[in-house]
Point group: C2
C-alpha cells in the first residue's frame, strides 16, 4: 500500500510524533468507527455535521438526503471528513499536561456524486459500516428511495492520521508531586438490542445484531 504523502493541509505542524503515514492505520481508524464529522464551507462559513459513512479500498462514501444543504454544497467542492475515536482521559500532575488519548483520521478532497451501480456500492458500504450484515437482510431501496438519497465518493488521496496513546507526559520536576496521574480509558460499547415495539412476535434479533453486544 502507498504511504500517506503529506500535503500542505495534512502535514502536521505540531507534535509530528503523533502522526502516522501508514495507510493500514488509516483504514483501521476509518473501519472501526460508526460516524464521522463532515465539514463543508457554506457562504464562507464552516459547518460540521455528524453523519454515517463507509469505506471500500481507497474510497470513502457519504450519503444524505438529496435535499440536505451540506450535500448540496459538498459535491464539486472541498470537504473535510474527520473520524475520531476517544480512547482515554489523560490525567497529569500538572493541568498543562492534561490531554486525551485518541485516534483520528482527517480526509480532505472533492467528492463526486455517484449514480447507478456505483451508487449501490456506496450505499452498501455505508450500511455495512453502521450495521454489518444488514445489506443482505433488510429490504433494498426502491427507485424512489434511491432518488431521495445522494451518495458521494471521496478518494482517500489526501488524508492524515493522528494518534495519542499512553500515560501523561508530565515534566520531570512534577514527578515528585503528590497528585495522582494516569489514564481513564474510554470505551464505546453496545447494550442489548431493543426490539421495535411493532415487531411481529417470533422474530428474534439475528446473530449479526446480537454479536455486537458481546464484542
Amino acid at each position: 500500500m502507498n504511504p500517506l504523502s503529506a500535503t500542505p493541509r495534512t502535514a502536521l505542524g505540531r507534535l509530528p510524533e503523533r502522526s502516522s503515514a501508514d495507510r493500514a492505520v488509516l483504514y483501521e481508524i476509518l473501519d472501526a468507527a460508526l460516524i464521522c464529522h463532515l465539514g463543508v464551507v457554506i457562504d464562507g462559513s464552516p459547518r460540521v455535521i455528524p453523519t454515517g459513512y463507509g469505506r471500500l479500498d481507497d474510497t470513502l462514501y457519504l450519503h444524505g438526503s438529496s435535499g440536505a444543504a451540506s450535500l448540496r454544497h459538498g459535491p464539486s467542492r472541498d470537504v473535510c471528513v474527520t473520524v475520531t475515536h476517544l480512547d482515554g482521559i489523560v490525567v497529569a500532575r500538572s493541568l498543562f499536561h492534561h490531554s486525551i488519548n485518541y485516534r483520528s483520521a482527517i480526509v480532505y478532497g472533492t467528492p463526486s456524486v455517484l449514480t447507478g451501480d456505483e451508487k449501490l456500492t456506496g450505499l452498501r458500504a455505508i450500511t455495512e459500516q453502521l450495521a454489518p450484515g444488514q445489506w443482505d437482510t433488510a429490504r433494498r431501496p426502491t427507485r424512489k428511495e434511491l432518488a431521495a438519497t445522494t451518495v458521494l465518493a471521496l478518494p482517500l488521496a489526501e488524508a492524515s492520521v493522528k494518534i495519542r496513546r499512553g500515560p501523561p507526559g508530565d515534566d520531570a520536576e512534577d514527578l515528585a508531586l503528590d497528585a495522582w496521574a494516569g489514564v481513564v480509558p474510554v470505551r464505546q460499547t453496545f447494550a442489548a438490542p431493543i426490539p421495535d415495539p411493532t415487531l411481529r412476535p417470533g422474530i428474534e434479533a439475528p446473530p449479526h445484531i446480537t454479536s455486537r453486544t458481546r464484542s
Copy 2:
C-alpha cells in the same frame, strides 16, 4: 432562559421535528460530552479537528497550542463547534430507514481570545469538562505554560440542537416483513483508571477519578 432563536444557519431545513429550541437541552448536550469537533475555514477549505472544550453559562471555551493553525485562523473568524453523542444504531426493516440515534449541538460564531482572569476561567471550564475535580488537584499553569496556550471564548448565541431517539420509522407496508427491527444502544463507558508507570508508590486515584468508572 432564552430559547434558541433560528438564524439562516441554524434553521433546520430537513426533519425539523428533530430540532429543539430549548436552551436547557443545549446545555445538557454540551455538558455531557468530552470532546467537540471544531470546524474552521483555512485558505477556503474546511478543516475539522477533534478537541477539548468547556462551557460556563452562555460561553463555550476552546483552547489549544498558541501555534496551532486551527486556532491561528479561528479568532476573529467564523468557527463551527459540533458536539455529538451517538446513542444507538437504528436497524430498520428497509435499508432506507436505517439511521442513528444521537443528540447533537452545533454552535456558530466568532471566538475571541481571552487574557488574564478570563483566560484562567476558560481553562478551568475546559479542565473540569474533561476531568472534573482536577482543577483543584493538579499543579496550576505557570506563566510560560499560559503563554503557550490560546484560550478562546465563543458565545452560545447561534446554536442548534438536533436529536433522534426511539425505534426505526419503517413504512407501514414493511411491517409485515420478516426482518428484525429495533435499536442497538451505544454507550460511552469508562474503564478502571491506569496509573502512570512513574507514579510514586502510595498515591491512590482520588474519588473524583474512580467515581467515573462506576458511573
